[in-house]
Amino acid sequence: MFPNLPQSLSGSFSLNILLAAPSVWSQYAPWIVASVLVIAGLAAFGFDDVLRLHWRRIWAISGVCVTESLRRRVLWVTPMAVLGVIVISQLNQPLDAQDAIRQTTKFCLFASAMLVTITAVILACTNLPREIENRVIFTIVTKPTTRLEIVIGKVLGFARVSGVIILIMGVFTLAYLQFRTWRMVGQLKAQLAAEPANSPLRPMLAHYVNSGLLGTRSIEWAKDVQVFARPPQGDMRWMAGGEGQYFIVPFELTQADKELLASATNGGKVFVTTTLLVEQHKPDESEQRLIKDMGLLKSKTSNVLGPAAPTTAPAGMTAPPPQVAFRLLDENHRALSGSADMGVGQVVDLKAPEKPGMPFRGDLELSPDMVARVTGAGRFYVQVNARTPATLYGANDRPVFLYIPGAAAPILPPADPTNASRVALPTFYSFPGRGGMRLTGRADGAGPVAAFRFRNVPVETGSKSGAVALQMNVTIDKTGDFDASTGSLSRASVEVLNSATGESSGQIEVSPETSRVAPVDVPAKFVAGGNFDVLLRGLTPGQWLGVQNESLSLVTADRSFVFNLIKSLFILWLLSLLVVIISVFCSTFLSWPIAVVLTLLILLGHWGVDQLGDALKPGGGRNTALEFQFQDVSQTIIVSKGVEGLSSMLRFISAFLPDVAKFPVMEDIERGVSIPPQKVASSLGVVLCYGLPMLVFSYVIFRKKEVAP
């Protein structure tokens, strides 16, 4: 399975035909290609060797590999690795007990992975060349062993050696973790006993003492997260001004729309229009500062400024007139308006409605150039930023449209992909900080909320405690307003809304630490049915929480750590199997030092090209060429073409190399997450899709090889 194939190849036109074929084909293409290669390779010398295959010979050959490794004291590497792990995990400064265990798990698995890969590469790459060099192979191939059996036997032999190493490391990992957990839970118990009854640390300590530190969970993530000024009510959703909140509405122009726009530019006008409810309040201290900083104090003599907004307008400093900033974005969310945009957009004053309670309206006139760009793009986005502090902007289901005076109807966003009867809804964001979108804290819990949407989550009912656990993992940033005297603990709250029953759990307080998983227990009824929303609020003023999709997850089941470790080690063994196959393949036609190098290239090629990332994207050549600042255009073109060609070649080759990232040995187990079976399956897929053809190639090459040096 090379699921990376379609994306990576989409640039090469020769394979476009292949990709245009039915999805069944592109889904199974790697399997089909692999099977064809395997059958063709085996058929190259007739099927005699396949028919002669006998497990006893294969096992005997693999057994010699194992004996050789053992007698050469290869296993001595494991105590060295064990020692390294113990030293590093003792020197490591963990944040707390849970972190210590996770770090240790990571070190153990990392050491095992390094150890087993390096051993496998060296053993498997040197074996065949050495046997040919010292001619032991003479006495093997003159027995009734086929070369196919030799190749399979060697691969199996080193897979067995890797297995033994992994087993030893696995047993050590488990024993060491059990030991550390046992000691740490002891310490936590003592700490819990010493902690005062009302300490906010108690729930977490109790959680660890009760469920241990080696817990493993099945996790479901939210479908998406949006940031609002207050919890959404139906289609009415709010964003707060001055806090970097905005929403984005998609547009997809039909042919008729484009014609309409084209006719409008001939003398007519085109507006991007937004209609929003506006609520304003007396600016608090920090909002007042912001208003000053933004230069909004000088009352604008704008003619669009209507009567005072329908707010709790206070005496003294009042909220400035409401404004929004528009940006037009292309498909990749890059500014359509080019460099003139600078990321802030074009500020537009909102016109007050005739009657209070009706929406305000803002119009941005598009220049003919802009209309042309929009028409050319076809698909584009309109971003509306809430600009004015102390102001809330309320958007209904269609807050933005293209308005063409004189046209029969405005141009609306396309239909909602999940509900064709209405138009696509805006998506709400806030500006990103260090760890995701920023969520400002407010002590009264009436500040902005991050709404995590969970849909069709398989919730295991009938859990013993009647509660389910949410896991929260946010970053915390302090703003200049942060009052350090309020204590070091941050506060946040979580509220679960069941979509089916409409029930709300109310706000449950949590005290998160930055980038750490904080468990939150919630009664199971609020997540029953698997469709629910979780609202997250920051409660500490002067702090930002950084939220992203992964910031909130639901523990759907508790799993055994041992089983998870076994899965992780199995994935590691699959990786080592692939390594062995590639090594044996390379060693059938290369001397061992070159075989080692080629093996590493094949193994890391895909990953390496992924790391180069943007540099190899189409367009990279032009940038490189521009950096040279050639006087001559033709030179620029040559360099640009050359770099472009080279990078597309690299991308093409890497698409055929196995992706080691498909062997997630550490990432899940380290976070205490149960490794989903699909990940095991996808590792197995990579091994089969690459390993089997490579095994057969090794046989074909070795079969044709004169084994006399």
């Binding site: 005699d48 010979r57 096992w59 005997a60 010699v64 007698r71 006495t139 003159t142 006399a708």
Partner: protein, 311 residues
């Protein structure tokens, strides 16, 4: 004399081997148009100086390397086919075995490659080790600790593990002490008595003379002579009369009788012509201008038989 396939153990037809270098250019013509047939049940000797292509011939027969031209068949199958390896035993010129295994383990390993059942192996391995004369203590030691002769013996045992019909021995006596050499020869003769075919490569002429019925002599990859050892060694112009218990008087009378018949140079001893003489004569005849030419095939494109000195 025509031969049917049943009576042929090995048939080599116009076999040539040119070793190529990395770039595919001819480097050494190690074997040049060799044709010969080895009958079942005979002990055949392949003689020749160092580098004359003996080992190359054996490697070709076993499929370790592939011929440049010509073909060979073993026991009715094309050379190098895996199936026929079931009935072949091979002792390479040096003991190329896993040095980290013990003698016993080595035999068990090779036995398993023949799918010999474990029970049968447990019976056969000690017998074989007795046959080749490895004592019980040495059997449990790793091959890296073996002396050259011991390694040779385990190599021989390994070649016999499958009770083969055809045995290819590449210089079997190198590294063996005189007793070992004697035992090796006895073993070869006993193999012959069991009806097995033996192809023996050697330049130790005495060994060959003792056990081989037919021999061929290779020089620079070309066959120089082929035939019964007896015929080849026969000295045509000398008549040898062997009797038992002649008194010196009778010998003197015989001598006078012979001189009366006009025969001169009568020597009453054993003829001293040996295989060695024959071997030396052939090698000398091919040497250009009486100069000693380095052994082995000639480098370059010219084939090894032309006797050009190496460059």
């Amino acid at each position: 004399m025509t031969l049917t396939a049943d009576t042929e153990a090995v048939r080599i037809e116009h076999l040539s081997k040119v070793y190529k270098d990395f770039w595919g250019r001819d480097k050494v013509r190690a074997l040049d148009d060799l044709s010969l047939t080895i009958h079942r049940g005979e002990v055949f000797g392949l003689l020749g100086p160092n580098g004359s292509g003996k080992s190359t011939t054996i490697k070709l027969l076993l499929g370790l390397i592939f011929p440049t031209a010509g073909s060979a068949s073993i026991l009715g199958h094309p050379a190098g086919s895996t199936a026929i390896n079931e009935r072949i035993g091979f002792l390479p010129e040096e003991s190329y075995l896993y040095r980290f295994l013990t003698g016993e383990e080595t035999l068990h390993f090779y036995g398993r490659l023949f799918k010999i059942p474990r029970k049968e192996l447990n019976r056969r391995v000690p017998l074989l080790l007795d046959t080749v004369g490895l004592n019980t203590k040495d059997r449990k030691r790793k091959l890296r600790e073996y002396s050259k002769g011991m390694a040779r013996r385990i190599g021989l045992a390994q070649a016999l593990i499958n009770n083969p019909d055809l045995i290819l021995l590449d210089e079997p006596t190198t590294g063996l002490d005189p007793i070992g050499t004697r035992e090796m020869k006895d073993l070869i003769i006993s193999l012959k008595e069991q009806g097995k075919t033996v192809l023996l490569c050697s330049h130790l002429l005495a060994d060959v003379q003792d056990v081989c019925e037919r021999i061929t002599i290779l020089f620079r990859g070309q066959m120089q002579t082929l035939g019964q050892v007896r015929d080849l060694l026969e000295v045509k112009d000398i008549t040898q009369i062997q009797t038992k218990g002649m008194t010196p008087a009778q010998v003197e009378e015989m001598r006078q009788f012979l001189s009366r018949m006009g025969v001169s140079d009568t020597v009453v001893t054993h003829p001293t012509t040996t295989l060695e003489d024959l071997f030396m004569r052939i090698v000398r005849e091919r040497t250009v201008n009486g100069q000693v030419v380095p052994v082995g095939a000639t480098p370059g494109n010219g084939h090894a038989g032309n006797g050009k000195p190496g460059m």
